[in-house]
């Protein structure tokens, strides 16, 4: 009986803690938006963060995109060939990349490449009391440190996802047309007939934008909220990657069911 009560008590504490964290994150987000003005007027702060989260992620995004596209080309061709429609390879590669794989895989890579670095940076600043020092000097740490990193992520992510999809299509083309010998004209023309700009590509861009904002918010929040010890910092970094990945996958399911359900 006592054990059961203890279990219920612990469950309740966990629920309260969870709701408290969500509320804290929401208030943090509102505060971040209110103090975003400076990251736009002093644009070099944001440009610096775009460099760190965008430019430095280029290599991994380009290489992964190329390889994902190449694997899609190989696997897709094997299956399509069985039904005599190897020409539809371009459709398969481009639709799966622009609708799902581009935003999702780029988002996961972005979370582990850039989001993690942001959490570590802000968390270390907090651990070494740099954020408090800024506060003492009447510099708002949210406006000076957090907001530029958030906006840097929001701006970088859609560009990275578009690059990922484009590289993937090129990878599929490389395998399909150059190595296997699918007809070049059929590859592109079937792709263009099947992929709609507003329906497929813009929805993918919207997805990547949402994922970028989610990952950037989780990263800066976990960093800002971390327990200022070595262990707390490592936990915050782990939480950033895990929460971002789960949030991306869950949001992707929600967005896909809103965007693509019941249509062709």
């Amino acid at each position: 009986m006592n054990g059961l009560l203890n279990f219920i008590r612990r469950l309740g504490a966990a629920a309260v803690e969870g709701v408290w964290r969500i509320g804290f994150a929401a208030r943090f987000f509102v505060l971040l938006l209110r103090h975003s003005g400076q990251s736009l007027t002093r644009i070099h702060l944001t440009v610096r963060e775009i460099y760190f989260s965008g430019v430095l992620s280029l290599l991994i995004i380009v290489v992964s995109g190329l390889f994902v596209g190449m694997v899609l080309g190989l696997q897709g061709y094997e299956t399509l060939q069985r039904y005599g429609s190897g020409d539809a390879l371009g459709v398969l590669v481009s639709l799966s990349l622009t609708r799902e794989l581009g935003p999702v895989v780029a988002g996961l890579l972005f979370a582990s490449r850039a989001g993690l670095a942001v959490t570590a940076e802000i968390g270390l600043m907090k651990t070494t009391e740099q954020l408090d020092a800024m506060d003492m000097m009447a510099v708002n740490p949210i406006a000076r440190v957090v907001a530029p990193r958030f906006w840097g992520g929001v701006i970088s992510m859609p560009l990275l996802a578009a690059l990922f999809s484009a590289m993937g299509v090129l990878g599929g083309w490389l395998i399909g047309v150059v190595f296997i010998g699918v007809d070049n004209g059929a590859f592109w023309s079937q792709m263009q007939a099947a992929v709609d700009f507003r329906f497929d590509i813009m929805n993918g861009v919207i997805k990547s934008f949402v994922f970028g904002a989610t990952v950037a918010l989780i990263a800066v929040f976990e960093g800002y909220d971390c327990t200022p010890t070595a262990e707390g910092l490592s936990r915050a970094i782990t939480r950033t990657v895990v929460t971002s990945a789960l949030a991306i996958l869950a949001l992707d399911f929600v967005l896909t069911s809103l965007m693509f359900r019941g249509q062709s």
Binding site: Y51, T98, L159, A162, L163, S165, A166, M167, V195
Partner: protein
């Protein structure tokens, strides 16, 4: 790192990202193709549209000349009304025949247009007078089996 170098790299990054987006829009997607041009809409009434979907292609002589814009059910005639959005650069006579066809045995369904000989051309809001419904495979098989059964029972009489 110096600020000018940083700006250069970020500018480079933005250009690559935008180029990827433009590549997706024009080379992968159909922006700038049939979608960008002017279109006009004609309606056709069908007894049965089978598995036709919105955005399915409209073809004439095998060339894509438009897309299915809207499909709705007319409760007065009990027929399906299909709105076709056709590229404005292609004009069709008023007595054009619209048929719902399937590409291959298991492929997607599309609307085929066969031009007639009328002098006047179709305009926005016009209705296609002659239409042919989709072939429903189950009905065809049912009919075939019924015919076979009828054939088989005649000599026994």
């Amino acid at each position: 790192m110096r600020r000018t170098t940083l700006d250069l790299w970020v500018g480079f990054f933005v250009i690559i990202g935008m180029a990827a987006l433009i590549f997706l829009a024009f080379k992968v997607g159909n922006l700038g193709a049939a979608n960008g041009g002017e279109t006009y809409v004609v309606n056709g009434q069908f007894d049965n549209i089978g598995g036709l979907k919105v955005r399915a292609p409209v073809k004439s002589a095998g060339v894509v000349v438009g897309r299915v814009k809207e499909i709705r059910f007319d409760p007065t005639t009990y027929r399906a009304v299909v709105a076709l959005s056709l590229d404005a650069s292609y004009k069709f006579p008023r007595d054009t025949i619209a048929t719902i066809l399937t590409s291959g045995l298991l492929g997607e369904q599309y609307v085929g247009l066969e031009p007639g000989g009328d002098e006047a051309m179709l305009q926005t809001g016009d209705a296609l007078q002659i239409t042919q419904s989709a072939v429903v495979l189950e009905k065809l098989i049912g009919q075939f089996m019924f015919d076979k059964a009828a054939e088989g029972s005649t000599p026994a009489n």
